[in-house]
C-alpha cells in the first residue's frame, strides 16, 4: 500500500495503541486460521492419530502412496475422486444455468418478484441439517410426495435409499436446490449494474429477446458470471455435508471431502480414538486441495480470457 498514512493518533507510547489492539485479532487468525491451514501439509507426512500426546512420527510419502496406490482402498479413493469431479461438473453446470435463468426472469418487472427471490434464496440460510431433513421427508420412498408424483408417470424410485447412483443423483438435486439462490442473487446484483440506456439503444437498432441477452446482458454481466463460475466450481468440489445428512457414509457414494472426515474423525462421532487416521486424512485433504487448486487455476484462465474479451 503506497498511500500509507502517518499515525495520526498520538506520539511516543500512544503511537503503539493501534498495534496493541491489532494483536488479538491477528494472533487468533495466525493460530486458528492460517497456521493450521498451512500445517495440513506437514501433518500429511505423519502418522498422527486422535490420541492426545501420542507420539507422532514422520513417515514421508507413505500416506500419499497408500491413498493413491495401495490395495482395494486406493481403488475406492480414486473412485471417490472421480465422483467428486462428476459431482462438481454437474452441480456447476446446472446451478450456474438455473441461477442465470432465475435471475433473468426475476430481473423483469413482474408482480411478486420479491416473493420469488426470497423463496429461492431461503434454503441458503437454513443450513445443511434442516435442508437435509426436509428432503429426506420429501423423498420418502413409499407414499411420499416425490414418490407419489413420479408414480403418476408410472415411475418408481428408492431415492436416497436406492442404488448408489440413484442416491448420488438426489444429493446433487438437493445440493443445487439449496445453493442456487446464492448464484441467483449474485447474477441479479450484476444485472442491476447494467445501464438501461444500453438496452434502449439496442432496441432502437431493432434487437430484442435473445439478441439483447447475447449482445448486452452476457458481456455486461462478466464480473458476476466469473464470480459464480469460480464459486460454483470451488464450492462443489469441497461440498460434502449434504452427503452426511442425506446418506451417511455409504459405499459407492462418497466424495473426497467426506472421505477426509471419515478417515480423520471416524464415520460416526463419539469419543476420540487411536482409530482416527489424522495423518492419512491430512494427505487426503491435500489431494483434494491440489484438485481444487488445479481446476481453480484453470477456471481462472477462462475468467481472465473472458475479462480480456469483454471488458478490455
Amino acid at each position: 500500500m503506497a498511500n500509507r498514512t502517518r499515525n495520526l493518533f498520538g506520539q511516543g507510547r500512544a503511537a503503539w495503541t493501534p498495534l496493541v489492539f491489532l494483536a488479538p485479532g491477528v494472533l487468533l487468525y495466525l493460530i486458528i486460521g492460517v497456521g493450521p491451514s498451512l500445517a495440513t501439509s506437514v501433518y500429511s507426512f505423519t502418522n498422527a492419530t486422535g490420541i492426545r500426546g501420542a507420539p507422532v512420527d514422520w513417515i514421508g510419502f507413505d500416506n500419499y502412496r497408500e491413498f493413491l496406490f495401495r490395495g482395494l482402498a486406493s481403488r475406492d479413493n480414486l473412485a471417490a475422486l472421480q465422483r467428486t469431479l462428476v459431482f462438481s461438473v454437474l452441480v456447476t453446470v446446472i446451478q450456474f444455468s438455473l441461477g442465470l435463468l432465475l435471475a433473468v426472469l426475476l430481473n423483469q418487472k413482474l408482480k411478486g418478484r420479491t416473493f420469488f427471490r426470497t423463496l429461492f434464496f431461503m434454503p441458503v440460510i437454513l443450513g445443511v441439517a434442516i435442508q437435509g431433513l426436509m428432503w429426506k421427508l420429501f423423498l420418502l420412498p413409499r407414499g411420499g410426495p416425490m414418490a407419489s408424483f413420479l408414480g403418476l408417470f408410472g415411475t418408481e424410485g428408492e431415492f436416497l435409499g436406492g442404488q448408489p447412483g440413484e442416491a448420488f443423483f438426489w444429493v446433487i438435486v438437493v445440493q443445487i436446490w439449496a445453493n442456487v439462490g446464492i448464484t441467483m442473487v449474485i447474477f441479479l446484483a450484476g444485472m442491476q449494474t447494467i445501464s438501461a440506456d444500453l438496452y434502449e439503444a439496442a432496441r432502437i437498432d431493432g434487437a430484442s429477446g435473445w439478441k439483447l441477452f447475447r449482445s448486452i446482458t452476457w458481456p455486461q454481466l462478466t464480473p458476476a458470471i466469473n464470480t459464480n463460475f469460480l464459486l460454483n466450481i470451488v464450492g462443489s468440489l469441497q461440498a460434502w455435508q449434504l452427503f452426511l445428512v442425506l446418506l451417511g457414509y455409504r459405499p459407492g457414494t462418497q466424495v473426497l471431502g467426506y472421505l477426509v472426515f471419515a478417515e480423520g474423525f471416524g464415520q460416526t462421532s463419539g469419543a476420540v480414538t487411536a482409530g482416527f487416521r489424522q495423518g492419512y486424512a491430512a494427505a487426503a485433504s491435500i489431494v483434494l486441495f491440489l484438485l481444487v487448486l488445479v481446476i481453480g487455476l484453470g477456471a481462472n484462465k477462462v475468467v481472465a480470457y473472458r475479462e480480456e474479451r469483454y471488458m478490455g
Partner: protein, 287 residues
C-alpha cells in the same frame, strides 16, 4: 429469455404487447414450477407435523385428520430443544461478539495502512480462501491444549473469518481520511475514534458481517460433530441430527422439530435479508 420487457410502440403496438404478454406468461410458468420445489418440502413438513404416527404411515401425503399439537410438545421435550438452542445462542453470540470486536481493530489499521506490512497482512487474509482446509491441525491443536469437548475450545474455532475481515476492510476504505485528521487534531484518542466515529459509520458492514458470521455458527453441523461428545454442549444442529438418529421413523415428531427450528430463522431472515444478500454479493459484481 428476455431481460427487459419490450415496450409497446417500438415494433408496432399490437405485436409488441402480445409478445410482452407471452414472455410474462412463460416467465410465470417457469417460476411457478420452481416454486413447487421450494414450497413443496415446507408444506410436507407442516402437514406431517400435525399428524399422528398412525395417520402418517397410512398415508404420508394425506391431510391430517385433526390438528395435533402434541408432536410439537413431544419434539420440544424429547429433542432437548431448550438446552440445545441455548447452547447455539451462546456459541453464536459470544463468538460473533469476540470476532467482530477483534476484527474492527484489525480492519481499521489495515484499511488505513497505519503500519508497515498492512498490505502483507491483508494479503494473508485474501489467500486464506485458497489454502488447504485447517481441519486436521486445528483438531490436533485443540486436542493438545486440552480443549477438546469444552465450550471455550469450541468457541475458539469460530473467532476467525477472512471473508468477514475483507468486507470490513473494504468498507472502511470508503470512509474519507479527512475525518481521521480532524479527529486527531481535536485530540481524539485512537480507541475512542474507532469506537465512537468509525464504528457508527461502518454500521451496515458490521451488521452484514455479524449476521453472516452468526448464521454460519448457528448452522454449523460438522464442527460440533467433531469437537463435542458431551450432549450437554450440543448446539441445536447436532441435537437435531441425534434426535433423527433416535426417532428417525417418527416423522411427525421430527417434522415438528425441524419446523420449530426453521420458523424463527425464516422470521429473522425476513428482517435481515438485506444484510445477508449484500454480504454475499459484496465485491462480486464490480470485477
Amino acid at each position: 429469455m428476455t431481460t427487459v420487457i419490450a415496450k409497446p410502440g417500438l415494433e408496432g403496438p399490437h405485436s409488441a404487447t402480445a409478445a410482452a404478454r407471452r414472455t410474462k406468461l412463460v416467465s410465470y410458468l417457469i417460476l411457478a414450477i420452481f416454486s413447487v420445489a421450494y414450497i413443496g418440502p415446507i408444506l410436507m413438513l407442516v402437514n406431517t407435523s400435525f399428524k399422528t404416527l398412525g395417520d402418517f404411515f397410512k398415508d404420508p401425503i394425506g391431510l391430517p385428520t385433526s390438528l395435533l399439537w402434541q408432536n410439537f410438545v413431544d419434539a420440544w421435550n424429547l429433542a432437548n430443544f431448550p438446552k440445545y438452542m441455548l447452547n447455539s445462542a451462546i456459541y453464536a453470540s459470544v463468538a460473533t461478539a469476540i470476532f467482530v470486536l477483534t476484527s474492527l481493530f484489525v480492519a481499521f489499521p489495515i484499511a488505513r495502512g497505519l503500519f508497515k506490512g498492512s498490505s502483507v497482512l491483508l494479503t494473508l487474509y485474501v489467500v486464506a480462501l485458497f489454502l488447504p482446509p485447517a481441519l486436521i491441525p486445528q483438531f490436533q491443536l485443540i486436542l493438545n491444549l486440552g480443549l477438546y469437548n469444552t465450550r471455550p475450545g469450541f468457541i475458539l474455532l469460530f473467532l476467525v473469518n477472512p471473508i468477514g475481515m475483507i468486507i470490513l476492510v473494504n468498507y472502511i476504505k470508503s470512509i474519507p481520511r479527512e475525518l481521521d485528521e480532524s479527529a486527531a487534531v481535536d485530540g481524539c484518542g485512537y480507541i475512542r475514534y474507532v469506537w465512537t466515529v468509525v464504528l457508527p459509520l461502518i454500521r451496515p458492514a458490521v451488521a452484514t458481517v455479524t449476521v453472516l458470521h452468526a448464521i454460519g455458527i448457528w448452522n454449523e453441523l460438522i464442527l460440533p460433530t467433531i469437537y463435542l461428545s458431551n450432549d450437554d454442549y450440543y448446539p441445536i444442529t447436532r441435537g437435531l441430527i441425534v434426535f433423527e438418529g433416535v426417532y428417525g421413523s417418527n416423522w411427525p415428531a421430527l417434522a415438528a422439530a425441524v419446523l420449530m427450528l426453521m420458523i424463527p430463522m425464516l422470521v429473522l431472515f425476513m428482517f435481515l435479508q438485506r444484510y445477508i444478500i449484500s454480504g454475499l454479493t459484496a465485491g462480486s459484481v464490480k470485477g
